[in-house]
Symmetry: C2
Subunit: 304 residues, 2 copies
DNA sequence: GCAAAAGTGTTAATGTTACACCCATGC
DNA sequence: GCATGGGTGTAACATTAACACTTTTGC
């Protein structure tokens, strides 16, 4: 365990802090919820003609106390004895970031012993998707310890090893979080799938980690993976869009999440049934105005 | 809360049992894992010619103590302070049913307050898939409190209500679990999806429940739903198959899970890339022998 | 006029659905 | 011979991928 020499508001070093903590007081684990709040933002336009580039952003909070003091963590907190996990997630998000009424889904529950140096903690992670109007709420407050980081998660190595009665598949991801005003956060995440006979186990490991608290780096990698697969067969992407949007904006959101370029004509045909056109257009764009659309929440019905 | 008049091995009624329990002793919830172990079994052949019908079975355990004494529950138990959730799930399964080395995945974490009348309990559910050789292990032991129940979960009503800025979608499912020697377990489960503006929440409710302990009826309904969707885009179905199988057997497994009939020729084309043929054949079948196949665990590679 | 993006059309390849047909076995 | 399932072929239709082309704007 890497102990931090920085002191907290009570003047304790991390060593002192952990010694003051008595983990054996409890025979039950603590339960927390962690929130992964994603949004998509526009970058500066290069010139009057070009469209702004998009970035996928994740909300992180700077830790003010041990452990991992000064590092960045996912927003979240302890579940109260009388609230459900979902209620805790909604409450924490509102308390820490003042965001409410957004899309949220349960992702995964992380329960390894030793996740937290203080005591046994089990965390259920929730993924939330916000449209970029929520981005402004927090970004404007410069004193806040909550910041949006632009996220990238790139596969850079894949390795399959055959064993006696199965195989082992390793994927290595490079995770980077950056925010103009802050130093870069990064991690190398290893995703391992072990197949032995009928048994099959997938786990994540953090091979390298800079300034991301706890095991949050692997939770982030897991969430991005889930976002990538779910965007293909559900309508979750629309939770990242404003009320009115152009089809090119929608395509850009798919492109940054999937990390590929898509063909315009094909993309439009594929998403056509999920949107409704309006009579409004963008203007002053430096090129042909484009029609604005809104999400058609009844698209699933139309199949039957 | 429905209190049961039956007494446990200490001669307590449920009322007495709950009064002896002091929930305020703790300021932390208990954490358990629940296992949903599915398998597929062959029924009796009607005559020398016909193929046996298949049934989807779920492993349940009869409760010997309050609460819900005498009712049936999912196997599972408390997570120890030094083991991960996955380790707890593997250990509990081994302890309660002697099954090991099978496919397992985390499903969902259930954390509503009031799930258990004793104290606050948070349960992470795992789905395990076993081939039917595991079925025999337990079925032979008639004294055991663990039994395989044949499961059916049928949608019988769907209702969409439009609200001001969203909608509410209700689906009603009839869940029935049956085992020749035991009385039938059943429940009516309501799945509700509420969309209000950007927020979207899905929850399950138990409208009616016979002999299924705790909120396990909705966990079962949730697991079956997951199984149905995952069988379409992954290879999990093969975890329910023996080492060697015929394509018709494989098709039957898809059919009972999806609860539809499939066309033979099309099914074979769709699954062709996931299986490898052997030189072996079935015999004494009362009709043309059929070729045996095995799972081709490398099918995903071939796409690239 | 021209850069940039909006928006549409076409074709080939591929996948899906529904149905028809023949084959091999045990009794 | 016949019931039962094993196994294959085909035509209609739908979906996807790749590319080419036209239109509209601000400066």
């Amino acid at each position: 365990m890497k102990l931090n020499k920085i002191v907290n508001s009570h003047g304790q070093t991390e060593e002192e802090f952990l010694q003051a903590y008595n983990p054996n007081k409890y025979d039950r684990p603590s339960v927390t919820v962690d929130m992964l709040v994603f949004t998509v933002t526009d970058e500066e336009k290069k010139n009057y003609r070009t469209l702004p580039e998009k970035e996928l952003r994740l909300l992180m909070i700077k830790r003010a106390d041990h452990p991992f003091i000064g590092q960045w963590a996912l927003p979240g907190g302890f579940v109260k004895m009388d609230e459900s996990l979902g209620e805790a997630a909604i409450r924490e998000l509102k308390e820490e970031t003042n965001i409410e009424n957004i899309y949220m889904e349960q992702l995964y529950t992380w329960g390894d012993a030793g996740r937290d140096p203080r005591t046994r903690i089990i965390s259920t992670s929730y993924m939330a998707l916000a449209d970029s109007s929520n981005f402004l709420v927090i970004a404007n407050d410069d004193a806040s310890d909550a910041k949006w980081f632009s996220v990238k998660c790139k596969l850079f190595q894949e390795q399959k090893t055959l064993t006696g009665n199965g195989y082992k598949l390793c994927k290595m991801f490079n995770l980077t979080l950056s925010n103009e005003g802050e130093e870069e956060l990064s991690a190398v995440i290893k995703k391992v799938k072990v197949v032995e006979g009928r048994a099959c186990r997938t786990y994540y490991e953090i091979s390298e980690c800079n300034n991301i608290a706890f095991d949050h780096a692997k939770i982030i990698a897991y969430a991005i993976e889930r976002l990538r697969t779910k965007i293909e067969y559900t309508d979750i992407a629309f939770n990242l869009m404003p009320e009115l949007f152009t089809l090119t904006q929608l395509q850009q959101v798919y492109e940054i999440i999937l990390d590929t370029e898509l063909l315009k004509a094909n993309f439009r045909r594929k998403t056509a049934h999920m949107v409704t056109e309006t009579n409004e257009f963008t203007k002053d764009a430096g090129h042909r105005p484009s029609k604005l659309y809104r999400f058609n929440s009844n698209w699933q019905k139309e199949n039957e």
